[in-house]
Subunit: 338 residues, 2 copies
DNA sequence: TTGTACGCGTTATCAC
DNA sequence: GTGATAACGCGTACAA
């Protein structure tokens, strides 16, 4: 029975299905694209059966070449170890899916070299669109790395350009509000804990917001590669001791949740969590901190909504291939202090 | 000067570059593929210049169609919110990169429907290989969802098949060792806290390991959608109270780090962390818990190495297109209790 | 060293 | 309704 030439090497093609069904490949193509009104019921049924039997799946590469689009959107995250990144991807993904687009995640791994590699691949014209949370924070440089004509949305970074639509959060104002709240609570001193600030617009904005309230705020910069270093801990304890001697109330403002977590044990074991002269706040993405410190107030971003918003805009752009000029170039999804 | 026909619509092609350089498209193709020994220095330089000027990037879709491979590997994670998933991706990614392959991450979002959607896309012959941490734990079903001929490695799940190579960890034995350790420490009772166990081989194996030491171990199953429910907390406190009344020592064994974290506040506020009759352990991926509980012993998996191992095997398979039969079908990357 | 011409698997425009 | 057939952009014998 199996007297068909058995091509074990390659997957079956539309042409082969056509031959087996006794129709032309054009008809198969129509079937695959749901143009059922352009063929008889019998033909459709026959094709259906052959496809089931053979397990045929159309070659997306060939389709892309022919149609010039893939329905694929590249999403580039700065680092998927951050909950923010994975969450905005999930937001983007869910919206894209509703628009018959597929989100594909690239991880820059906090490494500019890797980001560059990712962009090179993405430039090769298999993706219809791009949503990126860039590491490179410099407009001309990033511009040169993204192929002209690729629909692009920038997420979570302000590159000070109108060339791309940007979905950001209100880092500066929410930091300011938060700082102001603690100042009203009589916290006279503020210590900011962050990874290296320079060049990262997100962190710069946050620090600026805080310093607009606490101009003298101290900054402790943590070396990313050694976040649990003992000397950082010592620095913090020294500050606390000095402030206590001076009878001052001190706020510790962590620009990232993970930093708070890394200091949490120190505070816990030094019995500082219940010290009313000390308070902690942070940009907090997960529910871990609010579990540990139920009484505390944290800054909650909304990465899922940011991703969803970016995806919404991109989907529309891809749908109506004309770009509307009246669209807002910078969209802000506010974070909340609560 | 700009009297070339300006095709604003489409990206420039190899043909256009050829025309501008005054050579044939075959020569451009050779240039792009580094076959420099097959052309004069002058030609190469000329082409180089044109490519720079035009910003030409080759169309990967067309190349794929022609060469029948993309150098792309799909990596499907069960849920990128889990550190385990992102970390094994990073391991896989780093190894694939060394082999001139590109890892692309798909997130199943803990949703079998989404996993199915992902697999459908991956089947469409644009990927050379697949590394998957499946949600579906049933061999025949998963088999039917993965295109025959797609090089596949299964990660972190035991589907009890030799059809695919599998990279797993020693869930059962390490759970057993851990339980045995606590039994030696005179912990007579054990409470296991997990998300729904049934059907997830990972959790089943862990529970089996524990029960081989504590046959009577209680199981508290947390509803994934409401992990912070108060009644779970109450259940735990009741157990503790009962055990204390009976003067028994109790071990709380969390099958996932996040579960420990969600209960941590309860333990903290009830002053149970320093109670020598109570101990906690967990499968722990991040450094958060060891920060909070420096004295505790946790089970550390090695997702990065698991991903790297899977990628290593896949890279070899793709390189030597013949599959060796002598390769081990099930590879175990042991977790450590420390 | 370089060019010609065909193939990759699909879509889409004509015909019939 | 259905079938030829020319694109789509690149790689690669085979010629020259």
């Amino acid at each position: 029975m199996a007297n068909e030439k058995s091509k074990t090497e390659h997957a079956i093609t539309i042409k082969e299905v056509a031959r087996l069904a006794g129709v032309s490949s054009a008809t198969i193509s129509r079937y695959l694209n749901g143009k059922m009104n352009r063929m008889s019921k019998e033909t459709a049924d026959k094709i259906e059966k052959i496809i089931q039997d053979t397990g045929f799946v159309a070659n997306a590469t060939a389709r892309q070449l022919s149609t010039r689009n893939s329905q694929l959107v590249a999403v580039v995250a700065a680092d998927i170890d951050d909950y923010f990144s994975t969450e905005f991807f999930k937001g983007a993904s869910s919206v894209l899916e509703q628009n018959n687009l597929t989100a594909i995640l690239f991880d820059s791994n906090s490494d500019k070299q890797r980001e560059l590699t990712n962009l090179k691949i993405i430039n090769h014209q298999v993706f219809d669109g791009l949503i990126i949370q860039p590491l490179i924070n410099n407009y001309p440089e990033l511009r040169s790395l993204i192929r002209k004509g690729l629909r692009t949305i920038i997420l979570d970074r302000d590159l000070h350009t109108n060339d791309w639509i940007t979905v950001e959060t209100n880092n500066q104002t929410v930091s300011q509000e938060t700082a102001a709240y603690f100042l009203r609570q009589q916290f006279t001193d503020c210590v900011v804990v962050s990874e290296a600030v320079a060049g990262i617009s997100t962190r710069e904005d946050r620090l600026a917001g805080i310093r607009s309230v606490y101009p003298e705020a101290q900054l402790i910069e943590i070396d990313n590669s050694r976040p649990f270093m003992k000397d950082n801990e010592k620095k913090v304890l020294d500050i606390i001791q000095a402030d206590q001697a001076a009878k001052r109330k001190t706020l510790f403002f962590f620009l990232k949740e993970r930093l708070l977590l890394s200091f949490f044990p120190t505070f816990l074991h030094q019995h500082l969590l219940t010290d009313s002269n000390i308070s902690m706040t942070a940009f907090s993405d997960t529910a871990i901190v609010e579990g540990l410190l139920p009484a505390s107030k944290m800054i909650k971003q909304n990465p899922f909504l940011m991703g969803a918003t970016a995806a919404e805009i991109l989907s529309n752009q891809l749908k109506n291939s004309a770009t509307k000029n009246d669209i807002k170039k910078h969209i802000v999804i506010p974070a909340e202090f609560r």
